[in-house]
Subunit: 399 residues, 3 copies
């Protein structure tokens, strides 16, 4: 029999010196309203939905001091069950881990859990910057104020096998990627925290469809690429990304930028090799005095500590936010040399979006969010420009 | 560290004054046999399947005295994972709660968990009366013998986003509904309990397909609408429903009735505005002496208490049942003014069904059920009448 | 309140004399490389994927000494959620159980959990020998060294209902099967354990598609039947299978063989009634001294005990393996009497495959596996022969 102590983290976490176990999960319920203006003769329209953003169940545990596991996933809005984090972790020592599973490797906001993002969604940088969860082998080393990560990555654990063996020209190698990322916190005081990071990535699309660079207007609603996309033009690509954040007490700024050097898949559309550029910057301010919770040993942000939660008779915490998102896909259009390639990339435009946000935290495990986004998409194809006004709200609880 | 006590409710429930956590789930495995008689030249046929009715995993917990959560879902018979209960609950005080998630708002049998229904399935009233789980915001107040509920409701958390933005006439507003329900128990003694309830509901189909009024013959097997359906004729509707139940020791009666005033979606089929009428009544008798477990503070029935379970060396509990189901969709046919509209509503008939049932409970968490249903469907289209004899059994366990 | 003790089995298991509960799950992440040689003009090709083999969450519990439950399932590679083990178990006494759910009934390797197989996958015998999980009612009796099982089986809990009621000739009876299996351990000492077993099975395809006898080359990757299959030719079948294993300290041998006597579904392809023959044999050797963990009271193998796990400062356990797989489907081709039937069964060939394997267990709950398979498929259709070289690796953790 094992004696364990129980810590309550939304749900019980059983721990002793060797082992650990916790059931985990999250519920993110959204309301989304979108007002879409298009160029005549395309009609304008409005959308509205009450929908799930994430409804997850999962577990996390430690078998012993060397081996840990995590698995969490769910399904919403008619989609199939899909896994988020799935990790088998080997820890030869306290500062090193080798992980196999469905794992993210790079990007400050990308690595930060959706539960702890300041905004409701990541914007174009999340849609086409560093990769989200991929079936990977990842090695990670860290110190108190730095991290270094290397990853070999296939496609997502949730994507079907590449199995196109029936055709005249069979071949079924999965896409493959290699990512390295480093982060460093040169300043790490009670009052000030500075995060610097960078990543590089090479990818080859293998026998899967070519890489497409596409996104949504800072929301989880709707089809990625409905309003801006290059089409599936990427054979291989090399990406360089930089990250920066400065937390000063209850004020913080954060930004990331990536340049994706695309090697064009000429069998799809002839032409030159475009660059895709994407980035964002935002400011956060907590009138109730909280600080965004930077974890320098992980190189990401975690759960905020609420100073005066309702469980202590307080009023909870409030965060106010403003953000600018930018993506430039226009090279995909200008380097296309055929009419079909121009049509494929007719929506490969410039995305510029402003988002204002407010979060209310009754406790650290629950929040209500509201985001207003105004996005302007200047697409190169004739009559393809889109303006979007979008209002979203979320009720979130995790455990 | 948190000290908690453990209560065993099929699975451990950890509790203290502030927090609570339990893993929950259920397994309902069915055998269904159906004998279908149709009008020549349509062929008669028989069906039989061993199948899952529900196989669910989930969790429930309390973060503190003000905030609770629940999520439970599963998948059977080749269907995708879908959520049942998903709730983030805010409780400003003991008698009030505001809930966001996938929630039901009205109807005595509808609100009663499938685990605790006397019959294996709800019948036409469950198929087309009050809405099942919908992505909603729900406010509820209650006393010891009354409840009052108001809900704003989209579509199910499991339904895909409305996203029909590509066509010539785009529009993607989700269906919206408003429901209010009240319940009151004028008599609440050890020997007798009387439940009275009523609900009203307005719905608009938005940019989704029109509301269809359709059902199955008191089973979870088969396609809803295969034997009786109005077709997707509803633009908006207003529904009034009433509920009544009387528990007298080991004897009880229960019934509900609703009138759905449908505003016809004339772009689908021209015609007048039909009324859909649907209801049921049943009697229950426990020869082993148990009482159906009415919870007046919730306005629904809960888990029965078995007097002499096998765990106490007893023989378990037995419930015997008889039920009448009725639905009248004929207005949909008679108000249709075009041949196409008549064909669309050719199966908008009168459903009359008798069900006999028996339940055996070895303990309160396990039961074996058998239901026999004889249903007669008198459809208005020529040669569309159907007679169904159906026998079903279930093994059920929940925790 | 219930006092329970906690045993750590990858995750906490709460137990007392009456009740039990544990959250369970498993993560099996694979890399698969296949090199496929075909007869010209069909092209050769190579495949590679990082993929999930199983990612499961589940629970198991005991309500009391008479009733237990288990449910475990998951989703990977774009597939829908599907259940593995789903069981409601009634135990009238210690040596008897009646189970309802998604259950396996026969076959030594088939009954052994994928977590505890010596090889990464079961080979053709697993693909077309005894049935995997089916929605069933199963009765089982056992002593210390014998088991006897009888099962009535529909299709899987994950398969859609048979519901082909719309056609001119409707009929929707699910497939049905009856299986009996016995096992006996004539020798059961610390040093030597001998397992003998046999099963017989009758199946009728009902109104589902005819039984197809098809497999993969000892892997979970790829479509079953891509390289060898009879096509859906089976109306009913009768199967006799035998099982044997001998564990001598750290050395063991195991083999199974089945003869499937197929009654041809003549509405699909005319002809005589073929026999399908399938079997395997393997040897296992643990240089680190462990023994494969035979459980004579269950008639299957369980989790190995690692003598010197890394948690005790050791190096873990190593198992080395060699295996031969054989399947002969050729009767399906030779008994077909029409050209269409010959084409349907053009890949009904002889499968012969060798697999070498190595497993490394840091602890009993984690393992790394590597399998190399060389398979030769001699198909009767002209130009349909296939040679496969396959290398697979797995990281596995269960709890």
């Amino acid at each position: 029999a094992q004696d364990t102590t129980v810590a309550w983290k939304g749900a019980p976490q059983w721990t002793n010196d060797d082992v650990q176990f916790k059931v985990r999960g999250r519920l993110l319920i959204d309301y989304v309203f979108q007002d879409v203006d298009r160029v005549a003769p395309l009609a304008d329209y409005q959308t509205s939905n009450i929908r799930g953003r994430q409804a997850f169940l999962g577990v996390e545990g430690k078998l012993n001091n060397y081996i840990a596991y995590k698995a969490e996933g769910g399904a919403v809005n008619g989609g199939a069950w899909s896994w988020d984090d799935v990790v088998i972790e080997f820890k030869p020592n306290e500062w090193t881990s080798i992980m196999v599973g469905n794992i993210k490797a790079a990007g400050l906001e990308n690595l930060t859990s959706t539960r702890f993002l300041s905004f409701m969604d990541r914007g174009p940088y999340g849609d086409m910057g560093p990769d989200s969860y991929l079936a990977s082998v990842v090695a990670k080393a860290n110190g108190l104020n730095w991290t270094l990560t290397g990853a070999i990555q296939g496609n997502s654990l949730n994507s079907g096998d590449v199995n196109n063996t029936a055709g005249a020209n069979p071949g079924s190698k999965e896409r493959i990627g290699y990512t390295v990322r480093g982060s460093y916190a040169p300043i790490l005081t009670d009052m000030d925290k500075v995060h610097l990071g960078a990543f590089a990535r090479y990818r080859n699309h293998g026998d899967e469809s070519g890489f497409s660079f596409a996104g949504r207007p800072s929301t989880g609603y709707g089809d990625s690429g409905r309003y801006y996309t290059t089409g599936a033009i990427g054979d291989t690509d090399v990406t360089y990304g930089v990250e920066g954040a400065w937390v000063h007490n209850n004020f913080s700024v954060q930004g990331e930028y990536a340049d994706i050097k695309v090697n064009r898949l000429k069998t799809v559309a002839a032409g030159g090799d475009p660059d895709v550029k994407v980035g964002y910057a935002f400011v956060s301010f907590w009138p109730t005095g909280e600080s965004r919770n930077y974890d320098a040993a992980k190189g990401e942000f975690g759960r905020p500590k609420i100073i005066d939660p309702i469980t202590a008779g307080g009023l909870g915490g409030v965060e106010l936010l403003a953000r600018y998102d930018y993506a430039d896909l226009t090279d995909a259009y200008s380097t296309a040399t055929t009419a079909a390639g121009k049509t494929l990339s007719q929506d490969a435009g410039k995305y510029k979006g402003w988002t204002l946000g407010a979060n209310y935290y009754p406790t650290a495990y629950v929040r209500l969010q509201a985001n207003y986004t105004s996005a302007d998409i200047d697409n190169p194809g004739p009559g393809r420009d889109v303006k979007i006004n979008q209002f979203q709200m979320r009720a979130q609880l995790d455990f």
